[in-house]
Amino acid sequence: MAHLVDRRLNPKGKSHGNRRRFIGRVRAAVKNAVDESVRNRDIADADGEKMITVPAKGIAEPSFRHAAKGGRRQWVLSGNRSFSVGDRIRKPPSGAPGGGGREGSADGEGEDDFLFLLTRNEFLELYFEDLELPDLVKRSLKEIKAAKPIRMGYTVAGTPANLSVMRTMRNAYGRRIAMRRPKIRDLDDLILRIQALEALDMPDAAELAELGELRERVDLLRKRQRSVPFVDPLDVRYKFFEMRPEPSSKAVMFCLMDVSASMGEREKDLAKRFFVLLHLFLKQRYDKIELVFIRHTQTASEVDEETFFHSRETGGTVVSTALKQMKEVINQRYPPSEWNIYAAQASDGENYGGDSEVCADLLQEALMPLCQYFAYIEILQESEVKLMNSDDNGMELWRAYRKVAGHCPNFAMKRIATPADIYPVFRELFVKKGQGVSDA
C-alpha cells in the first residue's frame, strides 16, 4: 500500500538560504558583474532580472582528482564502425583522445565561468551598494509599483478587521425573515402573558388551557429560534480590497550631457549611474516614462541612448544649446499639461565664456516653470574635490546655477566624484515622496 503525499503546497524556496550563502560567497565578483552590466545596458531596463557571469575562481570546490592527462589509461567506448585491433589514432593536439572517454569533473560543470540569474531585488541590492542610499529609499525603489487597496465589493472570507457589519447584519436579517425566525419581541410578549397567567391565584379552566398552550408555543418558538441562529456564518461578509497601482501618469525624463572630449569613461559612467537612479525613481511613480537624450558640444542634438553614451564627438562646450534643444523638444512633443517633466544634466562644469549667464536665464525663465525637477551634477576628479570644498567656489557655470538654485526649490545641484556622492542630489526628491506617502 503506497502512502501518497501531495507536497506541492509545501513552502518553496528551500534553497533560498543556500542561494543567499552562494551570493555572499561570490559577492565581490557579482558586484563587479552587476556594475559592468549596468554600464552595458539601457537606462530604462537597468533594473530587472539579469544574467550574471561569475568567474569560476572563488567558487571552485577542489578535491583530489586524477589529472586529465598523463599515465596509461584505457577506456571502453561504444559505436565502433571501422576500427580494428591495433589501429592507431593520432591524439588531438590538446585535450583527451577519443572524444567521449574523458572523465568529466565530479560536479559535471567543468571549469567554465559560472552564469546565473539574479532577481530584481538581488540585482538592485548590489547595484545600490556603493550609492549609499538610505534603507528607506532602497526599499521604496525596489518596490516595483506603489499600489493602493481599492474597495471591490464583498467576499465571504477575510480577516476580522475587514468585517462589514452592515452587510453581515443585513444578510442575517433577510435570512431570519426568510426562515421565519420568531421575533424576540413576540416571544417576550408570550412570556409576559404566561407570567401574568401564572400569577393568577385561581386560574379557571380556560386560563389553564391557555397557559398550557402558551407554554407549548413558547417551547416551539424557542426551539425554532435555536435552530435558526441570529447571525449565521453564512451571513458574514468582508470588505474586499484589490491592490491597484496608484493613479499614475506620464513622465518624460531628459538626460543632458556634455560629450566634449573632457568627459572620459569615468565621467560618463558616473553620469550613467546618476541617470539610472533618477529613472528608477521615476519608474515607481509613473506608469509611462519616456527618455530623451540630448548631448551637446558647441551644438546640441537629440540622440539615441547608444550614441549618447558611446560615440565620441569633439568640439567646444556651449551648454545653453542643450537647454534650448530641451525647450524645443518640450514644445514639440511634451506639453507640460500632460507630461511630468524631469531633467538630469551631467557635465564637467566647463562652458564657453559668457554662456553660463544665458543658461541660468534660460533655466529660470523658460525651463524651471515647466519642470518638476531639474538635477545638475558636476563631475570632478577626486583630487579636485578638496579644492572645491566650498559650494561658493567654482567655475562660471556652477556659479550661475547657484543663483538658479537659490530661486527655484525644485532645482538640485551637486558636485560628485564618486558614486556615493550621487544620492544627495536626489534627497529632496525622496524626502518629498516620503511625505507624500505618509499624507495619503
Binding site: L4, S15, F22, E61, R65, A67, G71, N80, S84, E109
Partner: protein, 496 residues
C-alpha cells in the same frame, strides 16, 4: 466481474489524479510483488512542483540537508538550465530510506507517473533494500533522522560560532568527501539516539586523546625509547588510514569538539552515498528492467492504453539511448543503457540460450528461473563485479564496444580490443576497470605523522598506471587539509 475490471485501462486521461495514481500503484504493485517477486520497503510517493524538484536536486536529492553555499551554487546552476529549457527535470528522485520516498514531478502526465512509480518505487526500492552494499553500508532506517540532526547541529554551530567559521570548515570537509569513506571496514551503525547520547562523552574523550599526543614531546628521552613511543602511537592511530576525515576528526591537534562533529557528519553522509556511486549501472539497470517489464505486462493485459504505452516507450528510449562515441554530447557509456541491456540479456540467456551463451554463462544458460538469477545479481554484485560476471558477447556486439588505450608517452591512442571473439574478454576487463571506483578515485592515505617534530602530516598518493593528480585541485585540497590539521601537510606520490 473481476476479469473485466482487470482488463479495463487504469486511466484514460493524460492528466493524473490521485485516484488514478493509487489505482496504477496497486496494479503495478501486484505485478512487482506477485510476478517479479520484488522485496521492497514501504513506499511513500510525494508529488512535488518543479521548483521543489530543483531544490531537491541541489541537495543531492535529499529532502533535508544542512545549509552550504555549494548547494546554492548547484541550485542556481540547475535552475538556470531548467529555466532556459536547456534541460528538463528528472521525472523522479528516489531516496534510499525506509519508507522509501519517491518524488514525482507534478508536470508528469499520468502515463509518466505510472512509469516513474514502477521505476523508482519498485525498481530502485528493491535494489536499495536488497543489494548487499546498501544493506552493509547505508542505514535506510536512520538516514532522515540523521540528516535532521545534522542540519540542526550545523545550524546551531552557525549561530554559536558564526557562518563564516562553519562555512570554511564545511568547504574543507567537502573537498575530502570522496576520500573519506571506509572501503573495507564496516563502521558501526549508530542510531540517532545513541549518537546524541554518545556525543558528549566522545567530545570529552577525544579532547583528552588528542592532548596526550603533545604532552610528552618536550621531555628529552633516549632515542630508542622515543622511536618505540612513536611506533606505538602510530599503531594507536591505526596508520595508514584511508579515511581522511575520520583521521582528522580523531587526531587533528587543533579542532574544537564541534568541528570534529561536523567532520563526522560530512563523513557519514559521504559513506551513505558510497554504495550509490558503486552501483550506478546496476541500480539504474534494475529500475529500468523493472519498469519495462511491468509496463509491458500492464499493456498486454489491456490495462495501459496504446497511447499511454507509446508515451512510456518514447521516454524509455530517450533515457536508454547509447550515443556513439563520436556523437556530439556523447558522455561515454550510458549506465542506464548498459545496465538495462545486460539485465535483458540475462533474461534472454536464461530463456533462449545460444551455444555461445552456454560457453560464456554455463551457470545460468537455460535456467528456468530468470527472476531468481536477476534477484541474485541485484543482491550480490556491484557494477564492477556485475560486469565482470555478466557482460557477454551479445551486449558487446550490440553496443559495438571497443577499448582504447592511451599512454601519455605516445602521440597516438591504440585500439586495444573490439567486439570480436578475441576482444570480448579484453573489452570486458577494461569496462570493469572503468567502473571500479577504487580505480577512478585517487588512492590517498594518511601514512605518517611527525609527532615529535613539526607535527607535519604525511599523505601518500599511490599512482595507478602513473596517472597523476590534477595539480591545481590537489594543491587547493592540500590547503584545506592544512586548515583542518593546523600544521603542514605533505603529499607523497608513489607508483604501484
Amino acid at each position: 466481474m473481476p476479469e473485466q475490471s482487470g482488463s479495463a485501462p487504469l486511466f484514460e486521461s493524460t492528466e493524473w489524479n490521485f485516484d488514478a495514481i493509487q489505482r496504477s500503484y496497486d496494479a503495478i504493485e501486484k505485478i512487482a510483488i506477485d510476478d517479479l517477486k520484488l522485496d521492497v520497503y514501504p513506499n511513500q510517493i510525494e508529488i512535488i512542483s518543479a521548483q521543489q524538484m530543483v531544490d531537491a536536486y541541489s541537495s543531492n536529492g535529499m529532502p533535508l540537508m544542512y545549509r552550504h553555499w555549494s548547494f546554492g551554487k548547484r541550485f542556481v546552476h540547475d535552475e538556470r538550465l531548467y529555466r532556459k529549457g536547456a534541460r528538463g527535470l528528472a521525472y523522479e528522485i528516489v531516496i534510499n530510506s525506509n519508507p522509501c520516498i519517491s518524488y514525482c514531478l507534478e508536470d508528469n502526465s499520468m502515463a509518466l507517473q505510472a512509469l516513474v512509480i514502477a521505476h523508482a518505487a519498485f525498481g530502485h526500492n528493491h535494489f536499495f533494500k536488497n543489494n548487499h552494499l546498501f544493506r552493509q553500508w547505508s542505514d535506510a532506517e536512520g538516514i532522515l533522522d540523521y540528516l535532521e540532526y545534522a542540519r540542526e547541529f550545523i545550524a546551531r554551530c552557525e549561530e554559536k560560532h558564526g557562518d563564516h567559521e562553519v562555512e570554511q570548515l564545511l568547504d574543507a570537509a567537502h573537498s575530502l568527501m570522496h576520500t573519506s569513506v571506509f572501503r573495507h571496514r564496516r563502521p558501526a551503525s549508530i542510531s540517532l539516539r545513541e549518537e546524541r547520547a554518545r556525543q558528549r562523552e566522545r567530545l570529552r574523550d577525544e579532547e583528552a586523546a588528542v592532548h596526550y599526543l603533545w604532552n610528552s614531546f618536550e621531555r628529552a628521552r633516549p632515542q630508542r625509547i622515543v622511536d618505540e613511543h612513536v611506533r606505538e602511537r602510530k599503531r594507536a592511530m591505526k596508520l595508514p588510514e584511508e579515511n581522511l576525515l575520520y583521521f582528522l576528526e580523531r587526531h587533528s591537534p587543533i579542532l574544537e569538539p564541534w568541528q570534529r562533529e561536523i567532520l563526522r557528519i560530512v563523513r557519514n553522509i559521504a559513506q551513505y552515498f558510497y554504495p550509490q556511486r558503486q552501483t550506478k549501472v546496476m541500480n539504474e539497470g534494475c529500475a529500468c528492467f523493472v519498469h519495462y517489464y511491468i509496463m509491458n505486462a500492464l499493456h498486454s493485459s489491456g490495462r495501459l492504453s496504446d497511447g499511454a504505452m507509446f508515451e512510456i516507450l518514447h521516454n524509455h528510449t530517450n533515457v536508454l539511448t547509447q550515443p556513439d562515441f563520436d556523437a556530439p554530447h556523447s558522455a561515454g557509456i550510458n549506465p542506464y543503457a548498459l545496465g538495462f541491456a545486460m539485465m535483458q540479456d540475462i533474461r534472454r540467456v536464461c530463456e533462449n540460450p545460444t551455444p555461445e551463451d552456454h560457453e560464456w554463462f554455463p551457470d545460468i544458460a537455460g535456467v528456468d528461473d530468470w527472476r531468481g538469477v536477476l534477484q541474485d545479481a541485484w543482491a550480490n554484485y556491484r557494477d564492477e563485479s556485475f560486469v565482470q560476471q555478466f557482460l557477454g558477447p551479445e551486449v558487446i556486439r550490440r553496443f559495438h564496444l571497443f577499448a582504447l588505450a592511451d599512454d601519455a608517452k605516445d602521440s597516438f591512442c591504440t585500439v586495444s580490443a573490439i567486439h570480436d571473439s578475441r576482444g570480448y574478454h579484453a573489452v570486458r576487463d577494461v569496462m570493469v576497470a572503468n567502473l571500479d571506483i577504487s580505480g577512478s578515485d585517487p588512492d590517498i592515505q594518511v601514512v605518517d605523522v611527525d609527532l615529535l617534530g613539526d607535527r607535519w602530516l604525511k599523505l601518500c598518493h599511490v599512482q595507478r598506471d602513473h596517472v597523476p593528480l590534477d595539480a591545481e585541485t590537489r594543491d587547493a585540497t592540500l590547503d584545506n587539509i592544512r586548515s583542518l590539521w593546523g600544521y603542514d601537510v605533505v603529499l607523497e606520490e608513489r607508483s604501484d
